[in-house]
Symmetry: C2
């Protein structure tokens, strides 16, 4: 499909792209690079690339598809460094959870001869690093492409086919809308999970041991999300500020209302909300985006 | 262990207690009752009791251990109805997520000859009804006993042994402290999950289809919790108001601070919080209260 694919940043997503590209036979050659010498050495052993390059510039040379998969705070310097080495006609893409800031940071450096198509695979786990990747991470999940106005149609098609080859379903979306949708489905949920895990840690009257022992009452689900990569998430919140604050404003309004219902003992309003939210869960399961197994199937024993 | 155990309320928890009691051979006979005729008929077929009684009064007659496992809003009337029929020397217990309100509603009706020991198994799934129960639900999880001052020591020991026989670890706790700990580890997390799923449903700029498709970015974890039984959760919030509002107040303070960090672009503060919360996740896994598998193991494929 591509003669050479270059993956810059070999963490959970970069390594999973390597595995999925090999599984799908989507590239004649996969070159990888990571800023960390240690990660480069570990990645070389894991074998999800054909070669680990000593620099990003070397990795992208002659590549038909270049994928940025570092935390987005690194994109600007990286784009500036690799831009002169990109092959004419190549596709430059990324995997960042924010798209407006990526265009702001990367687009100014991209040569006219290169097709820059921002993208975002909606998949992940709470683990990070090259060992965390696996080939099926994107299977059945969605990847969103956010091409700029006037983007080359056949380049967009090729990138779409690449992601489908990695197992994903593909949707095209406008940049600002992507950033708002992700603020709602990902960024604010993570912020809230980080926050409540922080509250539990700080609450004087409840010991950390109690929080841990009795976490199966609901809290443990939040800790999974709040265990995600800190650098990646710092960069997301620094770069999607407006959409995050907008959704958070709505969340806060709704929480104030719910707080009032609890204070007033408004059982009917509570019951109605709790009934409505069940329907959304069922839709997610019907859409194949989650398992119907109780507790996500993690307690499988003699059920 | 007991000649006769009576389970009143045959939903997820009641049916799981039946299964676990049979597995552990903890009772000579298990009698069950549910207010719903339909549930009684389904439970009779499932066989996790030896007999389904036509009334709660019949179920508790001659029982050595009576377990209330209905939503806690039903306890008061139930306690009043069964109290005259309880055997002298019997243990009366429950499984409610709130303990202060349970004592308020139940204790006034309990005859002096009966040992009333409130309890709370910290286990569950997002499913409800008699079909949702299974024998291993309590394995490795904690059950908290909150005996009243002056409770009979050997009755408390017997109840402890019963729960251990069901696979649980047992801890004894003071009532008000239980209600605060659970507000932190369970009630407020559920309230927040219900709230954010509600916000996503109401947000005009993002369609429900988008929320569902892109839920794998974090949101889907919240929907599992927000799919829990509406009646049970309504009753919890109506009956643990003070502790819930106290913890929610702390959550809101912390969220305001986090919101300010996002607004100010305070990357270091965000990074530090996100790093701290990872440690709590690791402690929960070490304590055996959750799986270390990525995404709770729900995406198991070729990993």
């Amino acid at each position: 499909m591509f003669n050479k694919v270059a993956i810059i940043g070999l963490g959970l997503i970069g390594s999973s792209i390597g595995h999925a590209t090999k599984r799908g036979k989507l590239a004649g050659e996969i070159a990888g690079f990571d800023i960390s010498e240690d990660v480069r050495a570990r990645a070389a052993k894991l074998g999800f690339t054909d070669a680990i390059a000593p620099t990003a510039e070397d990795a992208v040379r002659d590549a038909d598809l270049v994928i940025l998969s570092t935390p987005i705070g690194a994109y600007k310097n990286l784009a500036e460094a690799i831009a002169p080495h990109l092959k004419a006609g190549a596709i430059l893409t990324d995997v960042g959870s924010v798209k407006g800031a990526v265009v702001r940071d990367v687009a100014p450096f991209v040569p006219k001869s290169v097709h820059f198509i921002p993208a975002h695979p909606i998949a992940g786990t709470e683990f990070s690093g090259p060992e965390a990747g696996f080939a099926s991470l994107f299977d059945g999940r969605w990847t969103i492409l956010t091409p700029l106005p006037g983007a080359d149609g056949s380049a967009v098609q090729n990138l779409k086919k690449f992601w489908q080859g990695c197992g994903a379903q593909v949707e095209v979306m406008e940049i600002a809308h992507h950033d708002l949708v992700l603020a709602m489905t990902s960024h604010v949920p993570h912020l809230i999970a980080y926050n409540i895990v922080g509250t539990a840690h700080d609450l004087e009257q409840v010991t950390e041991g109690e929080v841990i022992k009795f976490s199966a009452s609901g809290f443990r689900d939040f800790t999974r999300i709040a265990a995600s990569d800190p650098t990646m998430w710092r960069d997301i919140f620094l770069n999607n500020r407006e959409a995050v604050l907008e959704v958070l404003g709505r969340f806060n309004e709704d929480l104030s209302r719910l707080q009032r219902w609890v204070r007033d003992g408004n059982g009917q309003a509570l019951f109605d909300l709790f009934t409505q939210t069940r329907a959304i869960r069922r839709s997610i399961i019907s859409a194949g985006q989650d398992t119907a197994a109780p507790n996500f199937g993690r307690d499988k024993k003699d059920q």
